[in-house]
């Protein structure tokens, strides 16, 4: 079986997790793809650390407003009932446990629930931005990632090798192969995305993965979009 990387699978599966009324923060990179898959009948509030709750769809070209962007710098529109606040209030919301889900991209995530996503020493040092606060304060932290690095190594590890963004904070990892709970120092496979099998994933992942007895094989229907 050949692995074909597909970010859309990750995004669509995560979008199915949310329930009406929840507050979600979507990080830069892969997590921004989640929004388009949120079902029409689920009404959530998208928060961005720049200081807004209630982000609407992207504006049509030509109608962007320089005073309306998200934390990634992309132009946004407003949802009915949206509100603005300063950065101190925004991080009060984040650290104070008022955000239900923080979805972040990762360079590495380990079975202890630690993640690394802000620094490759000597190579790439973008900085943590709001990621350390988001992982510390959100009710549920979801790591959203392609299962493998371009080199072929798995991003899921026994122990992160890069400088940590947060220690023991990740609750759930969603890759383009499956869904993994982080519990008791192990990954627990709860969903496996067809055509992959638990054994195929275990063999190629540099971490301890326990396959839950009630795990499901799931087909995520998305357009092919190799990353």
């Amino acid at each position: 079986m050949e692995y074909v990387a597909n970010k859309e699978i990750v995004a669509k599966r995560i979008a199915g997790i949310f329930k009406t009324g929840e507050v979600i923060n979507l990080g830069i990179g892969l997590p921004t793809l989640v929004e388009k898959y949120i079902p029409q009948d689920v009404s959530i509030a998208l928060q961005s650390e720049i200081g807004i709750m209630g982000i609407g769809p992207a504006p049509v070209k030509g109608s962007e407003d320089r005073d309306l962007i998200d934390a990634g710098g992309s132009p946004i529109t407003l949802w009915t009932g949206s509100c603005f606040f300063d950065s101190a209030t925004s991080f009060g919301i984040i650290r104070g446990g008022h955000v239900d889900y923080s979805v972040l991209g990762v360079l590495e995530v380990d079975q202890e629930g630690s993640l690394a996503n802000y620094k490759v020493p000597g190579k790439m040092v973008p900085g943590m931005g709001g990621a350390m606060d988001l992982t510390t304060g959100a009710r549920v932290v979801i790591a959203a990632t392609l299962h493998f690095q371009p080199s072929g190594a798995s991003r899921m590890k026994r122990c992160c090798t890069l400088p940590l963004t947060a220690m023991h904070k990740v609750n759930l990892v969603v890759t383009d192969l499956g869904v993994f709970q982080v519990l008791g120092g192990r990954f627990h496979l709860t969903e496996c995305f067809a055509p992959y099998t638990p054994e195929w994933i275990q063999e190629r992942t540099d971490a301890d993965i326990i396959v839950k007895n009630d795990y499901r094989i799931v087909t995520i229907d998305v357009p092919p979009n190799p990353a």
Binding site: S48, D65, F84, F91
Partner: protein, 227 residues
Amino acid sequence: MIDIPIISAADAAGKINEGDSLMVGGFLNCGSPHTIILALKEKGTKNLTLICNDTAVHDFKTGKITGVGHLIQGRQCKKIIASHIGANQETQRQMNAGETEVELVPQGTLVEQVRAGGAGLGGFLTPTGLGTEVANGKQVIVVAHKPYLLELPLKADVAIIKARKADKSGNLVYNGTARNFNPLMATAGVLVIAEVEEIVETGEIDPNEIHTPSIFVDFLVQAIQLD
């Protein structure tokens, strides 16, 4: 309420001295005092300690430079305190070459340091950064069985901020996500200069809708450069 001086961007830049610590409001290109930044670049004042959420944009490929990126390109900063430098390749280059000291701070910690500085607090306790490089050298304090990092307040010799509107006494109103760090930095500069798009008579802004009270603001500058 007395009127405060409305000065030129060049005069505002003249109030920033060699070796000063300088807070600059804004998040990427949103809500930065671009007119004053360009005047400061023109003046060429050096050895600044820049405190800013991020270092805006400097893209080597396209040559695009925005916001405080101009000050970094002009090698006007000896030290930069920021949460994110990922969109500015020149900041990363200067850091890796050892030319400029860069201190990366989690965004929620940075803004709270600024808030604490402006609010007369001796610091604050945050769980953000525990178990990461951010915790190195910092005191850990346990409150009700939970560990926190002690983070210290930040003040600056000068804060330059951006608002949508001011009255002549210096009351400020922000617009959209351009609010971000600006209201906090307004409290933490010994000298505070607000660049605004519109200046109205004192009394024209509903007191209920003022975001930053005039007491924090020393000078106004009419914005010319908006991004």
